[in-house]
């Protein structure tokens, strides 16, 4: 059973401008056989990141990864591309939470 209560979005901050985002859901083993999923998002996968930021949403903190995965819906991807790509660092994470809601 996934423990979706915990929502961690990972954004790799790049010093350079960011292109299309590469994203993946990472699942870590957790207590009681549960898995701990988090969203790993990288601005430009072919360039080394300058730092890593673990992002914590406001509100309920839940973005419903379990509803969007295992087959990410186009809306999910487009939302995150809009939030996290390029010019991506220009959108606040709180806005990402809202815009990524189907």
């Amino acid at each position: 059973m996934n423990r979706i209560k915990l929502m961690l979005s990972i954004l790799l901050m790049l010093a350079a401008s960011v292109g299309l985002a590469a994203e993946a859901i990472v699942r870590l083993p957790s207590e009681g056989g549960a898995s701990l999923p988090y969203l790993l998002s990288q601005g430009e996968a072919d360039k080394p990141p300058a730092a890593v930021a673990v992002l914590f949403n406001g509100g309920g903190g839940v973005v419903g990864l379990n509803k969007r995965i295992p087959q990410p819906a186009p809306t999910f991807w487009s939302a995150h591309v809009r939030c996290l790509s390029a010019r991506a660092l220009r959108a606040p994470w709180s806005m990402c939470r809202l815009t990524s809601t189907p």
Binding site: K5, A50, A51, G58, R90, P92, S94, M95
Partner: protein, 159 residues
């Protein structure tokens, strides 16, 4: 996710596991915790618990006041965060649990980015499409945060 859960040992263990996984994926890379609004409860408590494991903590629109949902950071000792701390707040944040005043006070001891201006609110005052979410000021705000993370000079006042 309640405030109590965000402060819990279970939540902190999960965060520590993610940080450890990231450090394995990106050896030598600095890892920052960034929380906004109620997410600042997670970032602050994890920042205090993880100590030198992280390079810094960023709290934007910090939940300084308690609410029906929990205590927020009303009783939190910010000095318990060993890593560098950056506060980011809109001076006109009208959300009752995230007032600007305490951020200004903490700005005497910690780095603070104060944001003003932007677009008229299009959402509740505690939601993102308002000063609480830096509406219309997202680009310079995030750029300043990123500069702070990368050790570059950053804007303390936006604009």
């Amino acid at each position: 996710m309640s405030d109590a859960y965000r402060m819990s040992a279970r939540h902190l263990r999960d965060i520590a596991a993610v940080v450890a996984d990231l450090k394995q994926r990106f050896p030598g890379m600095k890892v920052y915790l960034v929380g906004t609004s109620r997410g600042t409860v997670s970032a602050a408590y994890a920042g205090a618990a993880l100590g030198p494991e992280i390079a810094g903590v960023v709290l934007s629109s910090t939940l300084f006041n308690s609410s029906k949902a929990g205590a927020g950071l009303s009783g939190f000792d910010f000095a318990s965060i060993g890593a560098p701390l950056l506060l980011v707040h809109h001076v006109d944040d009208r959300c009752s649990v995230t007032p600007y005043g305490p951020a200004l006070g903490l700005g005497q001891r910690y780095a603070l980015i104060s944001v003003s201006g932007g677009e008229p609110a299009r959402s509740d005052e505690c939601e993102a499409f308002s000063a609480h979410g830096f509406l219309g000021m997202e680009a310079p705000t995030v750029q300043a945060i990123t500069a702070w993370m990368l050790g570059k000079s950053y804007a303390r006042q936006i604009p």
